[in-house]
Amino acid sequence: MNLAGRFQQFLFRWRSDGTAPLRLGQRRIFIVPSRGGLLFALALVVMLLGAINYNLALGHALVFLLAGLGVAGMIHTFRNLFGLVITPGRCEPVFAGQTAFFPLALDNERSAPRLALELAATAELPIEAAIASRGKTRVRVPLPTQQRGWLALPRVRLATRYPLGLFTAWAYLQPDMRCLVYPAPVTAPLPAASAAANGGTQHGAGGQEDFAGFRPRQPADSLRHVAWKASARDSGDGPLLIKEFAGGAESELILDWQHTDPALPVDTRLGMLAGWVLAAEAAGDRYGLALPGLGLAPASGDAHCQRCLEALALFQP
């Protein structure tokens, strides 16, 4: 850690806040004049000089009243954060490349509302929140993802300038929150019916014989299955449609690490597996997963799909 980093560490005493609800105390809240505040202060100095020069009694009074307003504004800006209770929530997994959202519940126990709160895990994606008097609100702090695996919520900056905008008060929150990031699915055709070798077939949805209707395309669906005409007819900006057939034999697949091209990088191979999992799930197949050192027996359903994706997300080759 560089010197500035160490200094910040010392000054702000960054440390994890755990998962418990957290109440903002005065030790956590920092406050400095904002740019508008500096402009205001400059205007006050010029006004004071003017009042002195022209000996304006009420000019003095006005400048002093405005100075008092600035001080009161500072305390109220601090007050806008002070005593706020933040409770971390549970985070839904996302695919790498999507934005992860970390839910936080903000609880205002005061009778005055708290307006214009800004939360940001990264400077690029701030979100705003306002809590009514004695109210509660839920916010979802966005964070872009790149890598599969666990994504811990970094330090969140909770800032406000309300009411007068002359000061910026902020606090750093570091609740123990993490989001599972699945590998970004790579669209690839499902491995051929080697699956059938593994046993009995059942009749059900997702077959390939009788046309049964359309369904929206999912990332793992091959472009070859897109019903282009129907998609064009349907609407310009809707998702592409896939023809669905009924009555096919429901096969049992084993999605195997070995079936992916070993020349590809690990993450791409995992992405292909993730795409297969999604495609198989969408097709209603029973599928299993075979990774080096890990195997998941064929099954289907949401829970199974998530288990598979989690295994892929956390896979260590």
Binding site: N53, A57, H60, A61, G68, A72, F82, P126, P163
Partner: protein, 645 residues
């Protein structure tokens, strides 16, 4: 303001900015050039229209062109872009123009800060109570705008205004502390622009027919005086202003008096009084005749005109004293006497002839003065609307028109005296005043402006003779409102005779005077007095800064403590329940915090059976209020608890 989305200005917030601009610009309409108000109004109207139609704001070039137009207009009007009035005009134009450039939150903040700045500029022109109140209102609105800007739509109109009021109220203690303790620096820090003190009324340093009657049509207050004892009778109140010794046929002028100091022999005990002089941008102080024991900084010339070194450009207080009976310059310099006998050659031959006749019939000065007074008393009319006079003005006045105001009488009288060989001169100033019984101040207005004469008599020195007193004795004894017939162009304020109106006026003026004395008149001197009364004598700016720092820190600490101390939210049902438990404790039934209401009821049944039924009602009502379905059970609980007492 990190992302473009946040920087953009909320459309619903814009009307707030229009309102702020309007309330901060509006009072300037009263005194600035009409075209400036029209330009500002037009720009604002345009901005509002664009907002209403949700159209695009004008481009950079249009704004640039507008800046050029505004600046050149100001240059033509004021011959400068700087200075007080030009500066204010620039601020007004920029404020109006900024409304056409409201794109981001930052522009809006600039409008608000400009608004605060514009508030200050109003005090250049007026610091009266109405101005103060209007500006307080404007401050409130501008602050609410700031809150609305930062709070977003969640901050409703009502909430913004309430919050702004609360913040302004919380700022007031700081203002008071700073106002009282901030080290006051008197005097300008840098050279004031030449227009800094424009537009002040008062006596001028010349006198010609019409100059005082014009002034007397103003009800503006010239100064106030407060005597430590009861004020003397009105006819003794001659407030001495510039003394004019040179006459060119129409206009009386000052003579440059230097050197010798006046010899004043007082015949009565000095009368002490405090004078609060309104600014009139001249050097003279209208001291009561004859001024004695001048405070430091004031000088009396050898014609007994009291002056200070610099013009009076702001309201000032003086501690003065006067001796109403005096002998002045009994041994006058012969040069001064000959100066006061000089007359321009050729003019007013009839007046000269008349003086000659008087002198020939009886050469004693008292007889000549008596002749003149008798002349005025017989056939002359006292009026604010005298006819215009030509080349031989005094002749026309004496023998033809015979209507005039005090400057006509004083001028003609002095002319006659000089022609008759008596040294005489014109003294201008104010006469009388109105006593306000509510605050004990004597108020002297411009309408009390007056001119009288002074003649030099052997052995008596300069003696005041007021020819107006011969024409209209009521003018001197009761005041101008009674001396003039109805229909003269006197200010309405002075003419009000109805008692309730007069009382109202007295009250208003007393309030104004208190405002002037205690709030506007708070200067380094008063600050020192106040601090020494608080037990801090001999303060310099260092000790002041220390006291100020301590006071402000205490205020901040108090506000912070108030913020940190947050009462836990407690619901009303629980509060009533706790009241009930306190009632039980008074009857020796103590309850542990973990006991449920049911358990407490059980214990009451065992320990105080006579209370059991009443308390059971409380428990039922409490459980109903806290856990029942309907939420309107509080009253039942409240009644049940009340019965417990």
């Amino acid at each position: 303001m990190s992302t473009p989305a946040r920087q953009a200005l909320d459309r619903q917030a814009t009307p707030w900015l229009f309102a702020s601009a309007l309330v901060t610009i509006a009072p300037h309409v009263l005194h600035q050039a009409y075209w400036l108000s029209a330009l500002a109004g037009l720009l604002m109207f345009w901005a509002i229209r664009l907002w209403w139609k949700d159209e695009r704001l004008p481009g950079r070039w249009v704004l640039f062109l507008l800046v050029i137009v505004g600046c050149s207009g100001i240059l033509i009007e004021f011959r400068s872009l700087f200075g007080r009035d030009a500066g204010v005009a620039m601020l007004v134009v920029f404020m109006a123009m900024k409304l056409l450039e409201l794109k981001s939150q930052r522009d809006a903040v600039v409008v608000v800060v400009l608004g605060y700045f514009l508030l200050l500029t109003h005090y250049f022109y007026s610091q009266s109570i109405p101005t103060g109140l209007w500006l307080l209102f404007a401050l409130w609105l501008v602050t609410a705008t700031l809150i609305r800007l930062h709070g977003g739509p969640a901050s409703t109109t009502r909430a913004s205004l309430r919050y702004a009021a609360s913040l302004c109220l919380q700022a007031i203690p700081f203002m008071l502390v700073l106002y009282l303790l901030f080290p006051r620096i008197s005097g300008p820090l840098w050279g004031l622009p030449s227009d800094a003190h424009a537009g002040m009324t008062g006596l001028s340093d010349t006198m010609s027919p019409g100059s005082i009657s014009r002034l007397a049509q103003s009800a503006d207050i010239a100064f106030r005086a407060r005597f430590s004892t009861t004020p003397p009778a009105k006819q003794k109140l001659y407030w001495r202003g510039p003394v004019m010794e040179q006459f060119d046929g129409t206009t009386w002028r000052l003579h440059d008096n230097r050197g010798t100091s006046p010899q004043l022999e007082t015949l009565s005990a000095p009368l002490r009084y405090e004078m609060t002089l309104e600014p009139h941008n001249q050097r003279w102080i209208l001291a009561l005749d004859a001024p004695v024991q001048l405070p430091e900084g004031l000088n009396a010339s050898n014609v007994l005109a009291v002056t200070q070194r610099l013009p009076v450009t702001e309201r000032r207080r003086y501690e003065l004293a006067a001796s109403l009976d005096y002998r002045f310059n009994v041994d006058e310099d012969p040069r001064a006497l000959s100066r006061n006998l000089a007359l321009p050659p050729g003019v007013n031959p009839q007046a000269r002839a008349l003086a000659e006749r008087w002198r020939n019939s009886d050469h004693r000065p008292s007889a000549i003065i008596g002749q003149a007074q008798a002349l005025f008393a017989a056939e002359f009319t006292y009026t604010l609307q005298p006819p215009l006079l030509g080349q031989n003005g005094i002749d026309e006045f004496l023998f033809k028109t015979r209507r005039g105001f005090c400057e006509h009488y004083a001028g003609a009288f002095v002319f006659l005296m000089r022609a008759a060989g008596i040294p005489a001169r014109v003294v201008s100033g104010y006469q009388g005043g109105e006593f306000n019984p509510l605050d004990g101040y004597l108020v002297i207005r411009q309408s009390d402006a007056h001119a009288w004469a002074e003649v030099w008599l052997e052995g008596q020195g300069w003696v005041r003779v007021d020819p107006t007193a011969s024409v209209s004795p009521t003018r001197i004894e009761t005041g101008i409102a009674d001396a003039l017939p109805f229909g003269e162009p006197l200010p309405a304020l002075v003419q009000w005779r109805a008692d309730w109106l007069r009382t109202l006026r007295y009250r208003w003026e007393a309030v104004n005077n208190a405002w002037n004395q205690h709030i506007l008149g708070y200067d380094p001197q008063r600050q020192r007095e106040l601090l020494s009364r608080l037990g801090l004598p001999d303060t310099d700016w260092r000790s002041l800064a220390t006291v100020l720092g301590i006071a402000c820190s205490l205020l901040v600490a108090a506000m912070t403590a108030w913020t940190l101390y947050q009462r836990p939210a407690i619901d009303p049902a629980r509060r009533l329940w706790l009241t009930a438990l306190r009632q039980l404790a008074r009857r020796q039934v103590d309850c542990a915090p973990w006991e449920t209401p049911m358990a407490v009821a059980q214990r009451v049944r065992e320990q105080r059976p006579e209370l059991a039924e009443t308390f059971q009602n409380v428990v039922d009502a409490y459980l109903q209020a806290r856990y029942g379905k309907s939420n309107n059970n509080l009253n039942a609980l409240r009644e049940a608890v009340a019965r417990l007492r």
